[in-house]
Each structure stands twice: as C-alpha cells, then as structure tokens.
C-alpha cells in the first residue's frame, strides 16, 4: 500500500516537482550566463590579467656612459658594487640578524633603525621584495658574510653597477655626483616622457646632471615567469609562456662625454692649490674650452654617489667652508686689483687719459672731499702712469682716473668683458656677480650714488663682485684680441663604440670694440707685472720657464682696513684678504688663461700667483711632452684623429691619483671622519 497521498494531492506533488526543476535548472542557467560573461564576453580581459599575473618585467639596467678627458682617459666609469639586502619573508628574525650585521657592515644606529622600520613596514607580497641594508660593502665584509652566510637566512649580496670617479675628489665639482631619484623628480621625469623608475640613479650636479640625457642609456627589459609568490620558475616556463621576441629587449648603453680637460693638467692644478678654500680655472683663450677647473674644499663624489650615511651628509652640508659649493661659478669675490685692467681699459676708451704716458703722482693715497682713499703702499709710488701703476698695482692712479670718469664707464667696460652676468658654462646654478653703476646704487644704497663708490670700484672693491670663471674669461678675451667665448667643458659626445655623436663648436658671446693698439698697451702692462722688476709677481715668476706671461695680482679686502694695518697672520681667518692671480701665456700667442682665487690666502703675488705659474708651467711642459711624443712617431694621441674609443679600448691613467676608493675606505674606517672627505694633499 502506498503511503502517497490520493489522486488530488498527487497532482499537487507534480506541481511541486515542476517548481523544483524550474528553480534548479533556472539557477544553473544563471551560472552558465555568468560563465558566458566572464569566459566569452570578458575572456580576453581576464586572459590579459592572468598574463600580467605571471609575467614579471625585470629591468636590465643600461650602462651609463663614461666621462673621458681630452685624451680619452677614463675619468668616470662604473664598477661593481656589492650591496647587502635582506628579504623579510626569508629572514626568521630580522631584528637580531640586522643587529649582528650592523657591526660588520659599519651600520650606524640611525641607518639600522631606518632599515628595521622598512622591514617592519613590509606587508603581504612586499615581504618578498629585498630591502637594501648596506650599499657597496667592502672586501672584508663580503668575506665575513660568505663565511657566516649559514647564520643569515634571507640576507643576500647583490651586484649592481656603481659610478666610479677614478680621480676621487679631483674635478669633483665639475663632474658632480649621482644619487637616487626622488618621488617629485620621478613624477616630472615621467611627465617629460623619460623612462625613470623608483630607485634609479640620476645625475645630481655638475656634468652628471647637465649631460644626464646623453650619459643615461636606455634600460632593457627581460620578461620572466613568476609564481604567485613572485619567485622565478624555470627557463622552460619562460619559453613556454612568453613569446621569444618579448622575452629580452636588450639595453642600450649611454654615450660617453669627452671633456676638454686634460686630467694631467687638472692634477697639476689640484696639487698646486695652496690653501683651504678657493678656485683655480684654466681655459684655452682661443676657443673658451676649459683646461682645468677646481674648487676647494672639495668632496669625494664616490661617497656622495654611494654609501654615505645621513650623518656624513649632514656634516658635509653643515660644514662652514661649504665643500659642495662650486666656487669657480657659484661664489663671487671682490676682484681687487685683478679688476684694474677693466678700469684702465675704460679710462683709455673714454679718453680719460690721453694715453699710457699720462699719469699722476701717488703720495700713498687719494683725497676726495673729506676722505682719503689709501694706496696699498702707505709710502706712495711717486709718478704713476698706466703701465707702471699696473706693474706696481698702485691704487692711487686708479682712484684718480675713476674720479675723473665716474663709475658708469667702468661698469660698461666690465660688462663688455663679460662681468655681471653668467658666462653660460655647461653647469647649473652659475651666479652673475655684481657690477654696480649709478643706477645700481640708486636701487641698492640708502643714500643713492656717491662719487666715492667709483673709487672703490676702480680697484675692484666696494660692491664689485666677480666669479673666478668671469675673471679668466675676461683675461682670455684680452689675450685673444677681444673675443668673449662661452666657457665649455665638453668637446664632444661619443657613443659606446667611440663613434662621434655630436661635437660642440666654440661659441662667441661678444667682441670688444677696442683697437689692437689699446689691447697691446694693456697686455704689455700685464706682462710687466710678471717680467719687469718691481712687478707684483716678479719675484715669484717661473724663471726657468721660457714663456712670457701676462697677469695681474689681486689682494682683495674682506674687511675695511683700520687705522693700523694688521699683519695677515695675525688676523682671524675670515678677516684675511683673498689672494688672487689671473694670467695668460704666452704673451704673443696665448694658449692658456688661468685664474687663481685663494680665499683668505693673503697677498696675490705671494699666495696665488705661484699656483697659477705651476699650472702654466705644467701646461707648457705637457705641450712639449706631447710634441716630442708625436715627433717620435708615438701613436698617442693620434694627430688629426678623434681620440680612440672608450669602452673597447679603455684607457686608464697609468697612476690614478686616488687609490681604489672602496677598499681604501674599508681598511681604515676613520676615513669616514668628515674632514677626511675633502682632499687633504694640498693643505699646509
């Protein structure tokens, strides 16, 4: 007997079964609809997403171009840096691991806690990403790590290219340095369509910055297959899942920058610099290309581009002598007597003096109204004309001409010689200096212009300020017959194989409207400074050098002279006079112009001229040396040809002045002391 309900209820059940089936099949149809949507309608989209899941783009970083000197010697290139990294997910106890590593890796507390903070902050898949612990670990550290690697799960050493400044602190301000690109810059670079990524290094100052777009190569890409944890699978998977033409896109190395600077001359200049702070710059007066250039104190770009701690960086930034400041272009000085050629030129051109013979008597000063302007020689010079006043650097003569022609002609001829505006050198943040005129005093001085200002300006004091590069370019213009050039540092750009990409021609920025006779008068008076008895540089002249030099000493006051003159040595450092010397040679066919500024150095003849003479002597010795090598048929440098390729035939100076930076610093940790960051070899 069936327990099923009677007929009527049976029909009821049929309806229920029908409902059950309709609902069930209907629901399953919804699922099929959903599957149709994601697999057919949106299938390609999800296929792309699944691809981006397992394809990881690895960057192949491009080699940055080298910086070569005028003869093709490598100045800056790359070397391997051994960086220690920690991967949080593989490190069982990152804190104690890092504390143990800190000692070996010379990690200070600040750096240690910074790394720890990053490790703690890593979440999820980020924990698979290695975190940099210490850049550029030395040989001892590496050996120790290798011995103890078993105790350090999750700690790896990665090799990355590190910029290598072969000459250490030499030429550092010109070369600049590199460090990691910041978030704001990254944004800007991306907007400009440049291919930078987080963690990339970028040129920070100097040529590294200005020539960034040439030096930086184009990174390549390698696409590999990774699993859900971001780990690489196998090469077999790579080739199975990624089309061969998408797997590797090779990198393109950056171009090489070839300087006009000869590192041999640069070293001579670096070694010749006599004091703590100042600048030397030498140019070729025929085309404005720079031959040597330095600023003191200096820094080691290897440190700034690599493993420098926050503390060291702070100390560098807070140093009162401002080692980062590029004094040659970013600091101006009262040019002192170096400026007298400008006043003399203005006097001749305005007819204030009818000729070089017209002059005045120097009783040790010049009286204007109730004030007396002192000549540096209290006893006076007797009768002075243009030639003798230049030779003796007599101030009175210049007070006299300035009083007769006023300040504006001086300012006008200063501007004609390139003062008062940036020279346009290939470096950032060049300052214009100051050339005051009547207008300027009306705007800047509470009492407006006064006659006495012209007297101060005439001897390069008062408010006149010039940068060392302006001084040397002005003297170069006097030397070459009146042409002002834009100073340039880079002769040409070559690709990695040494093929010429771009050559930079000389660039004129102005021409003096002065007769050759007038220029001769000035050049001759500058020659007298060095070669005539009584000349302020006469006693320091390089007697053994068979080259005639024209130049001018400068001893510019930093503070007003009191009633009693105080000896240089008895003054506080910052109250001492700046010693300067600007010169060119040979007088009849100038091939080098050089300016030396020795901050608080004392007197121009004694404390600046010898360095300039060293550079000039070095220049001609090198010239002779190269000449004889050529004559002997030596192939170096090949005449009329480009300097040979860099990377294929890297040429290294036989005895680089700086020893291998990294290992040197590893052996003696005390090199971390801040004052050791500057080059010491020329001190004292």
């Amino acid at each position: 007997m069936s327990l099923l309900p009677t007929q009527g209820q049976g029909r009821d059940y049929k309806a229920r079964f029908a409902w059950v089936l309709i609902l069930a099949i209907g629901t399953l149809l919804i699922l099929i609809g959903r599957l149709y949507y994601i697999q057919i309608v949106r299938g390609e989209h999800y296929a792309r997403l699944s691809r981006s899941n397992f394809v990881k783009r690895l960057d192949i970083s491009a080699d940055r171009g080298m910086i070569l000197d005028s003869r093709g010697v490598i100045v800056v290139d790359g070397r391997p840096s051994y960086d220690v990294e920690i991967t949080p997910v593989f490190s069982p106890d990152p804190e104690s691991t890092l504390r143990r590593l800190a000692e070996v890796l010379e990690l200070d507390d600040e750096a240690l806690s910074a790394v720890l903070a990053r490790v703690d902050a890593a979440r999820g898949l980020e924990r698979f990403r290695p975190i940099l612990v210490r850049r550029d670990v030395g040989r001892d550290g590496l050996e120790w790590l290798e011995l103890h690697s078993i105790d350090f799960d999750g700690v790896d050493v990665r090799v990355r290219p590190q910029r290598h400044y072969r000459y250490g602190s030499h030429l550092s301000h010109v070369l600049g340095y590199m460090n990691e690109i910041g978030p704001v810059e990254l944004e800007r670079a991306r907007e400009a369509g440049l291919d930078y990524r987080m963690g990339d290094m970028i040129g920070r100052s100097g040529l590294e910055e200005r020539f960034e777009r040439w030096l930086r190569g184009k990174d390549g890409i390698e696409q590999v297959v990774v699993d859900a944890k971001g780990r690489r699978t196998s090469l077999a998977e790579d080739s199975a899942l990624i089309p061969p033409d998408e797997r590797i896109l090779p990198s393109v190395p950056g171009h090489n920058v070839v300087l006009s600077i000869d590192m041999r001359l640069q070293r001579i200049a670096e070694e010749a610099f006599p004091g703590l702070a100042g600048s030397i710059v030498a140019v070729d007066p025929r085309d404005g290309f720079v031959l040597a250039m330095l600023s003191r104190p200096t820094f080691d770009p290897n440190r700034l581009s690599g493993r420098i701690s926050a503390r060291e960086l702070r100390e560098l930034a807070e140093d009162p002598l401002q080692p980062i400041l590029h004094r040659t272009i970013q600091q101006h000085y009262p040019p002192g007597s170096n400026f007298k050629v400008v006043t003399a030129l203005a006097a001749l051109q305005t007819g204030t003096v009818s000729g070089p013979e017209q002059g005045t008597s120097c009783p040790g000063g010049y009286r204007l109204g109730r004030r007396r302007w002192r000549c540096w020689r209290d006893a006076g010079h007797g009768f002075m004309d243009l030639h003798t006043s230049m030779r003796h650097s007599c101030d009175t003569y210049y007070y006299w001409v300035a009083d007769r022609m006023n300040i504006d002609p001086i300012a006008e001829w200063a501007r004609n010689l390139g003062f008062g505006r940036p020279t346009g050198i290939d470096l950032a943040n060049e300052i214009p200096g100051i050339i005051p005129d009547v207008e300027w005093y009306r705007a800047h001085h509470p009492d407006g212009y006064q006659r006495g200002f012209a007297l101060n300006a005439a001897i390069g004091q008062g408010d006149v300020n010039a940068t060392p590069i302006q001084l040397v370019m002005a003297y170069a213009a006097l030397a070459n017959g009146g042409t002002l050039f834009r100073p340039q540092l880079v002769r040409r750009i070559e690709d990695a194989a040494g093929n010429l990409i771009e050559e930079f021609p000389k660039e004129e920025t102005g021409r003096l409207d002065v007769s050759p006779e007038t220029l001769d008068i000035l050049v001759n008076s500058l020659r007298a400074v060095v070669h005539e008895p009584g000349g302020t540089a006469f006693w320091r002249r390089p007697r053994d050098l068979d080259v005639e030099i024209a130049g001018k000493t400068g001893t510019s006051q930093v503070v007003r002279i009191g009633a009693v003159r105080v000896r240089h040595e008895d003054r506080e450092y910052h109250h001492r006079n700046h010693a300067m010397f600007t010169a060119f040679a040979p007088v009849d066919d100038p091939r080098i112009a050089v300016a030396v500024v020795h901050e608080h150095g004392g007197s121009g003849g004694r404390d600046a001229a010898p360095a300039a003479f060293e550079v000039i002597r070095g220049f001609f010795e090198l010239e002779a040396q190269d000449e004889s090598e050529r004559a002997e048929g030596s192939s170096w440098p090949p005449e009329g040809k480009q300097s040979p390729p860099g990377r294929l035939l890297p040429r290294v100076d036989p005895e680089p002045s700086s020893e291998d930076h990294r290992h040197a610093s590893d052996r003696s940790p005390d090199r971390l002391a801040p004052d050791r960051l500057y080059s010491e070899e020329t001190r004292g």
Binding site: M1, L4, V20, R34, S50
Partner: protein, 368 residues
C-alpha cells in the same frame, strides 16, 4: 510491508544512468585534481581515489537494505549528530580558526557534513508521519520540523562554519517549502529570515566572515586581502575563454595564483583549463543528475522516499550553486565544496552516502 524481495528484481530496477552520471563527474574530478596537484607535494588525486572508493562502499552499504528501515534510525541519528556537533565545540580540532574536526583514533571527520544527511533523514521522517494540512503548514505546526533544522544550523554556525551552516539551512529550507507552507506563514518566515540575517551580520558573524562578504560586494577594493581569492578565481575562469588552456596548462592553477585549488576552488581549475565548453559540460551533468533525482522522488512510493530524494537533490544542488556562484563571483566566498569534484574525505563520503540513499529509494520504487 517490508517483504523480502528477490535480488534479481532489485538489480533490474537499479538506476544505472544516475550512477553513471555521478561516476562521470567523479572521474572528471579525479582528472582535474591530477592537474591541480601537479605542483603540490602530495599526490592529491590518489588520496581522492581512495576516498571515492570508501564513499562508494558506503553507498553500496546504504543500498543493501530497504531504506524504510531508516525510519527507525532517523531521529536517533539526528540526536547523535547533535551530540557530535556539541562535542566538536569542546574537543574539536581547530583549523584556520574554526573548530570543525572531530578526531576518533585514525579517523578525522567533520560532524557538520553528517548533519546534512541527518537533517534530511529526520525531516523526511517528520513529514512522513505528519499529516499535511490542506492549506499548507502554518506557524503553529511548522515549528517542529523547523526546530529539527535550526538546532544543527546554529551549532555549525557556532564552529564557525558559515558555509556549511548555510548549506544545511538551504537543504532543510527546501524541504520545508516542498512540504508546502501556508502563504501568510511564508511571508512571516521571509521577514524572520531577513531579521535573522541582519542580527547575524550585526552580532554573530566574525570579522573575517564579514570581510569576505564586503570583499564579495567589491572585490577590487582589497585585491591582496579578502578579495584576493575571488579575484584570482575569476581571472582563472575568465582566462579559460572558450576552449580553456588545456589540462595541466592553466597558469593560474600551476603557478598557484589560484588559492585552495583542490577544495573550494576546484571548479576554477576546471574552467581555466577546459574553458566555457568544459564548464557547461559540468553544469549540464549536474542538471542531468538533478532531473534524475527529481524523477526518483516522483516515483517514490511514500513521503519518506520523496523527502529523502528531494533532500539529496537539494544537498547536491545547493552546494553546486553556492560553490560555482562563489568561484565566479556571484556569491561571497564561503567554504563550500563542489560535490564529486572537490578534494576531501568528509565531502566525498557525505556526497556518496547521499547518492546511496537516492539509489536505494530508486531501486525500491516498485516495492510495497
């Protein structure tokens, strides 16, 4: 009534097509697990084959006697399951924050899986004996079968195992509705259900359960957190496109972007490697099974058989719907396995036991 019958007649009435559909699904499941376990250390599919063998034995065992004997066992079995569910709250083995496992010597099992069958049997017995009111069940009479359902659901929810609790609720709810509910009562139950959902959301659900629901509503919001499973599953399924990436070639599966690929997300493996065509075949097979199960119900000789059959159909249907719904992003991610395809002893044995009951009802449809 319970006369002894010749075995030959029983075998001739055996529902071979139904068993066939189930075996086809199980075989596809094994093949699929073999692909999903290629990268795993353990050979998951071999274990699964053993579980299927055990499940099959349980099914044969459950066919070997007249299911009507189960009328006597239904309530005691329900009580036993309730005891086990209470026990698991105290001595259960915790796994991923939930106490679901009971360990008896070498045997580890989830009482919540047994609860699915126990609820079906107990409610079938209740409706078998209860005389159906003409207009349908009203509140006054529905509370007793409802209690049979609510108690185990509440206990499972407490473990907490939201997915299984919902499945048991859906199975029992299907039976309640099948037994016909009076209209106003239906409305009232609807209101109660909404209220219960709100209460659960506010007071009962754990934060990770809520996170899953929120992630379901907006999966992209937290791609590496709660939404990760769902996102990766949809990518796996979608990237299978029409024909799939091929067996063992699914990148989401093989490179382990797809989570829980042996258990809850096993359908995503299938859909990635066999595409829309493969997915539709699986769903059609489930639909065929449901048709056959309803056919068995319609031929059953008394209400006990009808309710058992409908209960088994509901058990399979709801798990299929919730599982595929969740892996395709239609439903929130709750831990529900896919019958016959997902890896796991409890799931396999429970499903096969349910099939055994269905086959039993089917082969004895002409007996009285």
């Amino acid at each position: 009534m319970l006369t002894r019958t010749p075995e030959r007649r029983l075998l001739s009435n055996f529902n071979y097509p139904l068993l066939g559909v189930v075996l086809v699904l199980c075989t596809m499941g094994l093949w699929n697990l073999a692909s999903a376990s290629r990268t795993a250390h353990a050979e998951v599919w071999v274990n699964q084959a053993w579980w299927l063998t055990i499940g099959m034995s349980v099914a044969v065992l459950l066919c070997s006697f007249d299911y009507r004997h189960l009328l006597h066992v239904a309530y005691p079995a329900w009580v036993l399951v309730i005891v086990l569910l209470v026990l698991v709250l105290f001595v259960g083995e915790a796994h991923k924050g939930a106490q679901r496992w009971l360990v008896l010597g070498p045997v580890r099992f989830q009482p919540s899986e047994l609860a699915k069958i126990a609820v079906v049997l107990a409610m079938a017995r209740f409706y078998h004996e209860d005389k159906e009111p003409p207009g349908g069940y009203t509140l006054k009479r529905i509370w007793r079968p409802a209690l049979l359902l609510i108690i185990p659901v509440a206990l499972v929810m407490n473990q907490p195992d939201l997915g299984t609790a919902m499945i048991i609720l859906a199975i029992g709810g299907s039976l309640l509705l099948f037994a016909k509910v009076e209209r106003r009562t239906l409305l009232a139950l609807g209101v109660i259900g909404l209220g219960a959902t709100a209460t659960a959301w506010l007071f009962l659900l754990k934060s990770y359960q809520k996170a899953r629901v929120t992630a379901f509503l907006n999966p992209a919001s937290d791609a590496l957190g709660s939404g990760y499973h769902s996102n990766q599953s949809i990518i796996a399924i979608g990237s299978g496109e029409l024909g799939g990436k091929g067996w063992g070639e699914g990148t989401q599966t093989q490179l382990r972007f797809l989570p829980e690929q042996h258990t809850d997300f096993v359908f995503s493996v299938w859909a990635e490697e066999h595409g829309f065509i493969g997915s539709v075949i699986v769903i059609v097979l489930y639909a065929t099974f449901l048709l056959m199960a309803v056919a068995v119900a319609s031929q059953a000789k008394e209400r006990f058989g009808v309710f058992i059959s409908v209960g088994v159909a509901a058990l399979v249907f709801w798990q299929v719907f919730v599982n595929i719904g969740m892996v395709t992003g239609v439903l929130p991610v709750v831990g529900v396995t896919l019958p016959f395809l997902s890896y796991g002893g409890s799931s396999v044995v429970t499903s096969m036991a349910a099939i055994g009951l269905l086959l039993n009802v089917s082969m004895r449809r002409f007996l009285f």
